[in-house]
Amino acid sequence: MELSFKEQAMLRGEMGEPVRNALKLQLEVGKFYGARRFVRVKNVHMMGDIEVMGDSGLEYLRCTREKRAHCSVDITTNARCADFAHAEALGQDMGEIAKERTLIGYLADMNVMTTDTCINYQTLYQPHLGEHVAWGDTGTVIYANSVFGARSNFEAGPAALAAGLTGRTPEYGFHLDEHRRGTFVVKVDATLGDFAGWGALGKIVGESHQDYFSVPVFDGIGSAPTSDGFKHLGASLASYGSMAMFHMVGVTPEAPTVEQALGGRTSAETMTVRQADIDAVFRRYDIGDGRCNLVVFSGPQQSLFEMKCLAELFAGKRVHPGSRVFVTTAHSILADARRLGYAQALEAAGVTILAGVCFYILQNLSQMRIANGWTNLVSNSAKLVNTITAHRFNTILRRTAECVEVAVSGVVK
């Protein structure tokens, strides 16, 4: 890779060992993908919590902090594995939760803003068209590339921290025009409406095209999604398809027409998604004996609009005795939801609101599942029903209003 004078100085250790180590990691990744140079970034979003990092990750952070690591650009954190206000009641391992507090302290010492949200694109930072960023959480990346027209690859925890330390990232993948062109067209002949419908579309397209460099071009969308619709579509495509970008003709900034979205490429394939395909997604889930004592609205965290919608749907209702309903959101959203009364309405119905976390990454989740006798899990998030499966839940995607019915009745149909 071509290195600037500053990057060469970084590599010689003139800006400290953490920066040198960070650049070396980035160089290896850049080399793997054939990157020619680095691009500067001003905004970084990183994943880092004890559930995924373990003791070795915590020790890495301790050592890096001890060497006076200091992030040089704005860097925020993704959702984490514990809401401290609920950790004990949920049966989380308090030893691990103590480590989570230590970990947050290390990050803060390194100039990381521990915002703990996976919807940074709604709550924190909206990059401009063409802006290079280094974001982690795949849902944030696909939103940045597709909806803002910003440029990011998936940047996992150590890679994002490295970008925060060096202020740059290797130029490969979605930083380059050639990878941003659509690779196939998806004609949509369906009314998606609910967030679960957008997620179901993402599941159909993602599962059948699992490839980071696949870029679907959605055409024929009758009504453009809201920000939350984009959120669920993108998170689902990223989850099922490992995809980092999509276009929506006439809606997203790099897709005024199909031809422009394809960037001159003759599409290799056109697939059509019809209403029957969407409906079939919902029908195919195995509901077992039909009992369900766990309903989750999470993955990604709920926006203020989703909080309002849920408060309205739960108004005058009560969660079924013996069932649990969880909503996860960002700290900033919860503050507003409380100010506006949505949080109180949900809590009055028996819903538990967790802040700064995403449900599927909660520490001790397998043990919590067993202790609570949870098997069926119903959610309106196509992403969540895919990501949580290592914990051996039987997951079922349902539309938002249906999820509320399950929460109230304890029965899934």
Binding site: L25, E28, V29, K31, F32, Y33, G34, M47, G48, V52, M53, G54, D55, S56, G57, Y60, N78, G136, D137, T138, N153, F154, E155, A156, G157, P158, A159, A160, G173, G206, Q210, D211, Y212, F213, A238, S239, Y240, G241, S242, M243, A244, Y360, I361, S366, N386, T387, I388, T389, A390, H391, R392, N394
Partner: protein, 142 residues
């Protein structure tokens, strides 16, 4: 050097030369979605490798699933001594690569022919990232 029974070329590679027992999957992989990161066993219900222990194996997956977890998780499972020796992907994503580089676990992407045609689970294979090759060294005893 052991006699090589078959060779597959790969497009991209990182890490040290490793030898180990191959485990082939026709389904993609994510350490978050599919793996119990405390035992090293694939636990997702219905995964093609459900119940398989990945420790010290050379894992072949056609694709990477989403999820940003691998960045830290590969280093974590390595420190717990339950990591595979290598990940061999048909198509992968940067999360897997960043995680493998951080953990110094061998990883490759792209293959000149479908591994299912030349490698079986249980065969001993060598991954040489420098030469960008996968070599079959011995067949599983039948």
């Amino acid at each position: 050097m052991s006699k090589v029974l078959a060779t597959i070329s790969v497009e991209r590679a990182f890490g040290p030369v490793v030898e180990g027992e191959a485990v082939l999957s026709s389904e993609g992989f994510s350490p978050r979605y599919d793996l119990d990161r405390w035992s090293g066993v694939i636990t997702k219900r219905g995964h093609k490798l459900e119940g398989v222990q990945i420790r010290d194996t050379i894992l072949f997956f056609p694709t990477a699933k989403g999820g940003v977890a691998a960045g830290w998780a590969f280093s974590d499972i390595r420190s717990k001594s339950i990591a595979p020796k290598a990940f061999v992907f048909g198509r992968t994503n940067p999360v897997m690569v960043q995680g493998a580089v951080f953990a110094n676990i061998t990883i490759t992407e792209g293959w000149s022919q479908d591994p299912f045609e030349v490698v079986r689970t249980g065969d001993v294979v060598r991954i040489d990232p420098g030469r960008k090759v996968i070599e079959v060294l011995s067949r599983k005893a039948t």
